[in-house]
């Protein structure tokens, strides 16, 4: 229990802290098109065998926590919940033969290899960012802007995803 709970517990607070203390300031200085959203990595690194409804609810929780600091109640929460469900689709598509077992407690390079990790996380963050910017703009009128923001934010976010993973190399 502790083996699974505490790493995720600390990851929750660590990633939220990095997001609101560092990345938020970085986005403010870079401009609206360079939005770096690293906190969904918490959702991505949740245990692979955790039931999807829990993942969706935890995605909602981490998003709502970030929302309090961004003064955007519900926007990150919505994107977090969506990312939780999208993770289930991605993990199903990239599941190892026979499904996930105790050998792959989380979807990290330590268990899945760097190539697969970056490939799956790239799709994950792309979907999360697109959903986030769509909900943020709240209209299909700005579809072009949403796409541009998604691509720009995704490139930067993926750099931070790689940095974080290389630094901490999460195993649980």
């Amino acid at each position: 229990m502790n083996n699974k709970f505490f790493p995720n517990f600390w990851r929750f607070f660590g990633l939220v802290a990095v997001q609101v203390l560092l990345l938020k300031q970085l986005t403010v200085s870079l401009g609206a098109y360079f939005n770096i959203l690293l906190y969904p990595l918490f959702i991505f690194l949740l245990p692979t065998q955790l039931a999807t409804p829990y993942v969706v609810l935890l995605g909602f929780s981490v998003g709502l926590t970030v929302d309090f600091f961004y003064a955007s109640i519900g926007v990150h929460a919505s994107a977090g919940a969506f990312a939780g469900f999208f993770r289930f689709l991605l993990f199903s598509a990239f599941a190892p033969k026979g499904g996930y077992s105790g050998k792959e407690p989380i979807f990290s390079p330590a268990h899945m290899g760097w190539s697969l990790y970056l490939q799956v996380s790239a799709w994950f963050f792309l979907a999360h960012l697109f959903w986030y910017f769509s909900v943020d703009d709240f209209t299909i009128v700005y579809f072009g802007t949403v796409t541009l923001k998604t691509i720009a934010g995704w490139v930067l976010t993926m750099i931070f995803v790689w940095l974080y993973t290389a630094m901490f190399n999460p195993k649980n």
């Binding site: 409804p53 609810l57 519900g74 926007v75 929460a77 919505s78 919940a81 969506f82």
Partner: protein, 293 residues
């Protein structure tokens, strides 16, 4: 709470996602000014469109009532038109009263001299025959709707017949296509009047008799009601002279001719029943004359 969680687990992540997203949508609109403004605007547009659709639908549903209402207005206008044609106009410094067609007068004169003579009631034909020797129509108005025997039945296109039998809610109308029909009609061109009868056969043609033979009647001449029958108002279109103009074999001093009816008797739908407000008075006068003959 535990039960809800169990329900969500059983039904999978998608249901959870839908519920959570619905809640997110609610709080986004509630707590974010930008999204709230967009939502309010979009909801306004949507509601506007829905209201427009609903209005179009209710307009369509209400068409029958509107048609009824317009038919009633039309009946009122027909009443006014008929009454406007028959007005009594006192000659100055005399005790004579002359009839004038007030439509040729100014409005101010018409207002002074008009006296209502006819009332029009709307009705719908619910039974009709044209192939018998004596034809009848049934209309959906009766004594409860002020219909009484000997009222004329007309349409915008021509004459239809005369009310003969009246029940509470229905009436039988003797069609113009009836052997006993005899309507006073006139040729507009000469103001010469005669009697219109139906001799059977073609349901679109009647016979006009008793037009004095010195009138040079031509095919196509307009035939209207003369207004002498007390039932039909003046100048209602009856039809046009169709041919067979010749000397009446029964009375050599008069002409006889075929008249093609302007109203197709096979397609009669909505009709007006015309009430002559002075018919009892006129009838009693005629009885006096009849007694002296």
């Amino acid at each position: 709470m535990g039960k809800i969680l169990q329900l969500l687990l059983r039904n999978g992540g998608f249901v959870t996602l839908v519920l959570v997203e619905a809640f997110c949508f609610f709080i986004i609109v509630q707590f974010n000014e930008k999204q709230n403004a967009i939502f309010t605007h979009t909801a306004g547009l949507f509601a506007g469109r829905m209201l427009e659709r609903r209005q179009q639908f209710s307009d369509y549903i209400g068409l029958k009532d509107r048609i009824d209402s317009l038919t009633n207005v039309n009946a009122q206008l027909q009443t006014d038109l008929a009454n406007a044609r028959i007005v009594k106009f006192p000659h100055r410094d005399t005790s004579f009263i002359a009839l004038f067609d007030s439509l040729n007068r100014t409005d101010s004169v018409r207002r002074k001299v008009m006296r209502p003579l006819y009332e029009y009631y709307t009705a719908t034909v619910i039974g009709n025959s044209i192939s018998s020797a004596n034809n009848w129509l049934m209309i959906n108005r009766g004594s409860a709707d002020h219909i009484a025997p000997n009222m004329a039945v007309v349409t915008n296109n021509g004459i239809i017949g005369i009310v003969r039998h009246v029940d509470d809610h229905f009436s039988m109308v003797m069609s113009v296509l009836h052997r006993q029909t005899k309507i006073s009609a006139a040729l507009t061109k000469y103001n010469a009047f005669g009697s219109l009868i139906w001799e059977g056969g073609d349901p679109s043609v009647m016979t006009l008799k008793y037009i004095p033979k010195h009138f040079d009647v031509k095919v196509g001449d307009e035939v209207v009601t003369s207004g002498f029958s007390q039932m039909f108002p003046r100048k209602l279109l009856v039809g046009h002279v169709d041919g067979d103009i010749g000397q009446d074999p029964e009375n050599p001093y008069f002409l006889i001719m075929k008249v093609r009816l302007s109203q197709d008797m096979a397609t009669v739908g909505d009709v007006y029943v015309v009430r002559n407000l002075f018919q009892p008075e006129q009838d009693s006068l005629q009885v006096k004359v009849r007694n002296e003959q």
